[in-house]
Each structure stands twice: as C-alpha cells, then as structure tokens.
C-alpha cells in the first residue's frame, strides 16, 4: 500500500519539480511576480511534506532550506538578484537530484549538497535557521508540556494515577474543541473518572452565553507516560486552566512542587475525585453541555441555506488551468489497442466486400470511406490523449546544460522553442536519454571555451537551441549549437585509426559528420565522465531508430552543428507498403522507401560471386533480397522482380528485392516483445485485412546483414579513394 503511495509521491515530485523549474525560468526571465514565487514555494513545500512522510531526511532538509529562502523572498525580506537566482536554479537541480536519489536509491554528491546548503543558509536570517520545535510559549499553568514525545520513551509499565484539573477559558469554545472528546481520548489511556465542577455556574438569569463557567476534575489511572496524558490537551494548551499531577510522579522536582501546589489549592476536588466509583459526584461521560452550545442550531440552518450559493460560486471561481482528468495509462493503451483493432476490422471489411464480387459497390464504398475517416479521427483522438508537450523534457534539458556547463567550465545557455509540441508519452520518455547525451556532447565537444569563443569573435556564452516542431506527420527535434562544428580532419583520422573506414577513403562532408554515429566511435581524447561514459553517439542513434525515427547531423566549421531527429507521431500505427516475398505478405515502412520500381534483367549487374547490383539511371545500388535475408525460399516460378529503393541513415542506398507490391496502407503495429525473440530484419508484426499476420520489416537491419551491401560499401569507399 505505502509503496504505491510512494510511487505517486515521486510522480507528484516530477510535476512539482517541473513547476519549480518553470517558475525559476520565469524568474530568470525577469518575472518576479509574487504568484510565481508563491507557486515555487508551494511546490517545494509539498515536496518537503511528502518527503517527510516517507522519512527521506536528506530531501526534507534540503527542501526546507530551499523553501525557507523562498519564504524570505515572498515576504519581501530578500531580493531576487542574479546571484540568488543562479543559486536557486542550482538548488532546484539539486532538489531533482535528491528526488532521483531517493527514488532510485542512488548516491548524491554530499560535498555539492553541503555547499548548496551552506550557500542557502547565507540567505536565511539567524532566528529562522533554528529548526527545532518550540512549544507555544503561552506560559500557562502547564509548563512541562513535552509535545515532541508522542511516541518517545518506552512507557514504564507501572500504573500511575493522575489528577487533572481542567477549566476551559471561553476562547476554547471558539476553536471547536469539546471537553467531552478530550475526555474520550483520555479514557483510551486508562481508567477515567470525571467530575464536573459547576460551582462557578451562575444563576440562569445571570448567565452570559459567551462565558465559560464549567470545570472538570479528572482522575486517570494509566500505565501510559505522562507525556501521552499531556498530549491529549495539546490543542487546548493556553485555552484552559490545566494542571496534571501524578501521585507517584517524583521524577521531576518541578512536577512534585506543582503537585503540592495543586493539593493545597484544591483539596475538595481531589477528595471528590478520589471517591470510590459509582458515588454521587462522579459522572463518567455525561456529555457536558458547554455554554455556547445553543448557537449550533441556527448555524446548522444557515449552513443549509448557504449551500446553493456556495455551489453556484463553484464554477466561477475555477480559474487557472484547464480541468484535467487523470487516467491510468493502461486504460488509454487499451483504447489504443481497440482503435488498432478497429482499423484492422475496417480493412477486413473492405476486403470481404471486394471478395463478394458485387457489381455496384459504390454506396458501400462511400460508407466504408466514412468508416475509415471516423476510425482515423478516433485514432487521432486517442493518440492525442497519449500526446504530451515536450516542455517538461526540455526543462530537464536546461538542467543538463547547466550541469554540463558547470562541469566543463564553459558558459552555455539553452534556448528552447516549440515546447508545446506534443509527442507520444513513450517517445518523450525514451527521448530523454538520447537528448541528454546529445546536449552533453554539445557542451563538452561542440561549444568552445569562453576564451576561444572570444578569439573567434563570438559571444563568450555559448548558445544551444533545442526546438521541436511537427513536420508532415512527424515530429522534428533539433539541437543546434553555435560551437566550432565537427572537426572533420580529426573525425576522419579517428575513423581510420579505429578501422571504421579505409585509410584512403574519400568521404563527403556529410559522410564524415555521420561517422559520429558509427559504433565504437568517440572523439573525446579521454573518456570524460560527462559526455563519454564509454558510449558514443551510436547509442543515441540506436535509441532514436528504436523509436522508428531517424537522426542526422549537419555541421558547419566554426559555426556549429545541428542534430536533427525525426520521429513518428505515434508508435502504434504507421503507413506501410504491403509487399509479398516468397508467398509471404510483409510490410515495409513507407518512411524508409525512397522509390519503387520494377526491374528488368538488363538493369542487374553482378558483384563478386553472389552479389548483384541494380543500375538506376547510371548509378549502382546493391540489391538485398528480402527472401534471402529472412531465410525464405522461393518456388521456381517465383521471382523477385520489384525493387524498393531504401536509404539508411548513413546515406547508404540499397534496393530491397521483393516479389510484388500490393498496396500502401495504414497498419497497426503489434509488438513481438514477449511473443518471440528478436528476429533479425523484422521490427514488429501487424494484422492485415484478411486476418493474416504480416511481419513489418526493418530495412536497416536487413541491409546491415546483407553481405552484398557490405561488399558494395567497401568497394565504393575504395573506388572513391582512388
């Protein structure tokens, strides 16, 4: 139970941290509005509150300091200057780090944490730094209250008798405290005898309804500690005359003296309370009727009358954010699946109608078209539920850039654009790592040191621009820095050293730039723990292609580099080309197809023993037979005569040989995870209109596994070189 509550706490933390970041970014941009400051204060305060509930002490301590500084700001005791804003930004980063550490059980950088705490302390006035709880200094007759000891020292198992004199002041009744309830709480601790003292109650005519006249003498026999007894009266401290005296309470001299005082002050009460149970004055649990009680009725009547008014005010007072609904992700995914089935169902229906051989199907086709459009609308609607703005992701990236800048001694600022662009939730989640890596790289390798930048006539502060936009059914994420650009001679040299390319290879600028994505490539002379960690940009590329996307780099020496990531809008449905290969129906993603053509024998040239090349308008392209690549065998009468020209990320072109092309349509992607292991060349599966399962091909991996393509690639590089 508490596990799931803790999960929601961390989820909420993410939102609160985003709110904090958002507020701080606004403050950084010059918006010092009190509501912005208040919102941050509340967010940090909520993190602290939740963290306290789970005993996350580091997080509580940090959030407390952070919050206290913000309290100073919102009370106008502290001015937001540049230095403080920077500290707050770094503190917000640290708060995120602490949340992460608490969630994932990681380590935090203690030294850094302490430095920030100390820096925050400088903004906190002396008296506020004292975190210890001070009991409310009301100086009443119960000076020994130890409020902090609710569950403290183990109780002495000995029974103790407490004599309690309790006389409410009239102020107590205004706070909603009822003596009767306090007595019930006392009764839980042991055996209780209650005697009401109404000696001060005046005659009815002289009674003032707003005055308090009653007092109670209580005797409690309990094995509980004194502090537990005192805790019952915690809420009414200062609102009553109270004395609590234990019979054998000799542990503190003060208590003993107080007990003596009480005995001298009120002997009759003590006597009465000590009388055996059942005798006249003892009145256990007669509900006491405090003086102002009669007011309750009119109040209740008024409450009913005011109800409709409060109700009508409800709508008007809801300003601010649009109303939202939190739904379990699983429910949305079920809906997405159902929509997927609907689309499949549509194609099945269309197929069945086609099979009926009815002469005039125009009317049916019109309706079918309507069905299809509706299905698409629903699909888009459901996708929109899963879609989220990239804003939170981008905000996290600002933190990454700050951290990376601090670690490398460079000054960089991140400018974000198109933060409201919406992308599938899963895509956003899986984009976090690659983006982090690219940005660290941009700071580490792209942006020059401040002095070098100045020498190059640039501003000392490096600028990294992170933007998102929708581009013809895809999402485009661009990371552009204004650094030195790719050091091409160096990249080429490394690629040669690592055997990635032949020594005499002639590559275009773009080909050299894209070498950065080659497996095992890393330009850092030593692996810096910032962008390196032993993984290169190839991991980034794999992550992006894993999402069905593409990544590209373009660079201009001295001016900077731009990484472009193109992602599909959704992971659930895609446009595919339905083809047949050796009696099997398969789907090739449209996005990877450049063109399709029917080949004739004279277009085919051989390369080596088994390889073949397709000649397209004077250019040779290696042929990869899909059947061969997947280990399928053709009957003698079957022949691969159709070619799909595809292009890989590195610009490598290849002709996929298939038997025939059927049509182009939207297919629902069904993951093979958990159904069977990874099949080389196959990305996923789908269900076609006729109910058959078709594999969705992954052209990249087919080409990667093709010996012809590899041989051709080497050949090409060699010939380029000569």
């Amino acid at each position: 139970m508490s596990g799931s509550i803790q999960d929601t706490f961390f989820e909420e933390c993410e939102e609160l941290l985003e709110a904090t970041d958002e507020g701080l970014t606004a403050i950084e941009g010059g918006d010092h509005d009190s509501e912005v400051v208040n919102a941050i204060f509340r967010a940090v305060h909520s993190i602290k509150g939740g963290a306290g509930a789970f005993g996350l002490d580091d997080l509580v301590a940090f959030a407390h300091r952070f919050e206290t500084v913000f309290d100073e700001v919102r009370s106008n005791r502290l001015e937001l200057d540049e230095k403080l804003i920077q500290l707050l930004l770094r503190s917000s980063d640290q708060l995120s780090a602490l949340v992460e550490a608490a969630r994932d059980g990681g380590e935090i950088d203690e030294a850094h944490n302490d430095t920030l705490l100390a820096a925050l302390d400088e903004y906190i006035p002396e008296e506020e730094e004292d975190l210890t709880f001070e009991p409310m200094g009301l100086g009443g007759p119960a000076p020994m209250m130890d409020l902090g000891d609710l569950g403290g020292a183990p109780a002495e198992p000995q029974e103790e008798t407490y004599r309690i004199r309790f006389q409410p002041l009239k102020e107590m009744y205004g706070t909603g405290n009822e003596p009767f309830f306090l007595f019930q709480a006392l009764k839980d601790l042991g055996e209780l005898t209650v005697t009401m003292d109404e000696n001060e109650l005046p005659g009815f005519d002289a009674m003032d309804m707003s005055e308090a006249y009653l007092a109670w003498d209580l005797v409690l026999v309990t094995k509980e500690t004194r502090s537990k007894v005192e805790a019952v009266f915690e809420f009414v401290e200062g609102l009553c005359e109270l004395s609590i005296n234990g019979d054998g309470d000799a542990e503190a001299e003060a208590n003993a003296l107080a007990a003596l005082d009480a005995m001298f002050a009120a002997p009759p009460a003590a006597d009465a309370a000590a009388a055996p149970e059942g005798e006249a004055p003892a009145a256990p649990f007669e509900p006491p009727v405090p003086a102002p009680e009669p007011e309750a009725k009119p109040a209740a009547a008024e409450e009913k009358a005011s109800a409709p008014k409060a109700e009508s005010g409800k709508q008007e007072q809801r300003g601010g954010p649009k109303p939202t609904l939190r739904v379990e992700l699983e429910r949305v995914d079920r809906l997405i699946n159902a929509v997927g089935e609907l689309i499949i169902n549509h194609s099945m229906l269309a197929q069945q109608i086609a099979n009926l051989n009815v002469s005039d199907t125009r009317d049916v086709e019109t309706e079918l078209e309507g069905f299809k459009n509706l299905a698409r609308d629903i699909q888009e609607g459901v996708m929109a539920i899963r879609a989220q703005p990239v804003k939170p992701l981008f905000q996290r990236m600002a933190r990454i850039v700050r951290e990376a800048s601090a670690a490398t001694g460079k000054t960089c600022k991140l400018v974000t654009e198109g933060e409201n662009t919406e992308v599938d939730k899963t895509v956003i989640e899986r984009l976090s790592d690659p983006l982090t890596h690219i940005l660290r790289n941009a700071v580490d390798h792209g942006v020059e040191k401040p002095d070098d930048r100045e020498a190059a006539g640039k501003s000392k502060i490096g600028e990294i621009r992170l933007s998102a936009s929708h581009r013809s059914g895809s999402v485009c994420i661009e990371i552009k820095d204004d650094g030195a650009g790719v050091n091409r001679p160096r990249v080429k040299q490394i690629a040669i050293e690592k055997g990635l390319i032949p020594e005499n290879a002639e590559l275009t600028d773009s080909e050299i730039d894209n070498l950065l994505f080659a497996p095992g490539f890393s330009t850092a002379k030593e692996i810096s723990n910032l962008s390196g960690r032993g993984v290169g940009m190839d991991v980034v590329k794999n992550a992006v292609t894993g999402l069905g996307g593409r990544i590209n780099i373009s660079s201009s020496p001295g001016k900077g580099s731009t990484f472009t990531i193109i992602l599909p809008l959704t992971l659930a449905v895609m446009d595919g080309m339905v083809v047949s290969v050796a009696d099997q129906t398969m789907v090739v993603p449209i996005t990877s197809i450049v063109e399709t053509m029917r080949g004739s024998d004279d277009m085919i040239n051989s390369l080596g023993a088994d390889g073949t090349l397709l000649s397209i308008r004077g250019n040779f392209v290696p042929i990869c037979d899909v059947a061969g690549g997947l280990g399928l065998y053709r009957e003698s009468d079957q022949q691969a005569g159709v070619y799909l020209l595809v292009e890989t990320e590195t610009g490598q072109r290849c002709a996929l040989a298939v038997d025939d092309i059927h049509d182009q349509r939207q297919v629902v992607i069904k993951s093979l995870d958990g159904v069977c292991g990874e099949i080389p060349g196959v990305a996923a599966a789908t269900i076609l209109g006729d109910g058959k399962i078709a594999m969705i091909l992954d052209p990249e991996s087919i080409i990667a596994a093709s010996p012809t393509a590899a041989a051709f690639d080497t050949e090409r590089r060699m010939s380029n070189a000569s």
């Binding site: 509550i5 009991p135 709480a185």
Partner: protein, 124 residues
Amino acid sequence: MKTKVLAIDDSRTIRNLLAATLEEAGFEYHCAVDGREGVDMYPDVDPDVVITDINMPNLDGFGVIEELRGTGINSKVPILVLTTESAPELKARARGAGATGWITKPFDDASLIFALKRVTGAAA
C-alpha cells in the same frame, strides 16, 4: 455511522496518505485539492471534521478556517491544520483564526488518529 472527514490539501501524496490511513481506520474520507474547493464542497459533504493544509493555491488554510468559522457555514466543526515542524507561529495564527488543533507533518497513522480522536471523540 462513520465519522466523515473532509481533507483539503493540494499535495496528492498527502491526500493519498490521509485517504489510506483514514479509510483503513474506518473513516469516511472526502478530499478537496485546494481551499476554494474545500469550502465549496463543505455543505455537500457536511463533514464531522476538516483537515486542511496551510499553503495552497486559490484559498489557503487560514482562508478555509476563516470562511468556515466566519461565514456561519459552520462555526463549530473541528478543523485540524496540517503544519510542518518548524512553524509554531503558524499554529498560533491558525488557532487565532479558529483552528481546533493541528497535525504535524510528517504524521504517522497513530498520531493522525489520535488527533482526530481528540476533536471528534471518534476512533473511526
């Protein structure tokens, strides 16, 4: 009849914690996400006790107490405020506004139930 609790807190975590503890202990639990909603919901829920956070958007905890006590909606309902350890002045201020008592964050199940016991007499 179950004792009805109206909890007002903008933190989902705190609401979840309260809900888990109170429902398990047999209270009838209602919640609002900010002070304004809490005050608006009050007449419909008609709770036996209100638990409210202090720092909230739209209407803070003091506002909640003042509105519940001041507008005559209910001047007597016990109101417990959720406070943090270092804020005795908050407690004094809350009491000044008419709060019945307070629950210190972080709270454990026992202290939460104990606080409710002292202001409603009910263990559930």
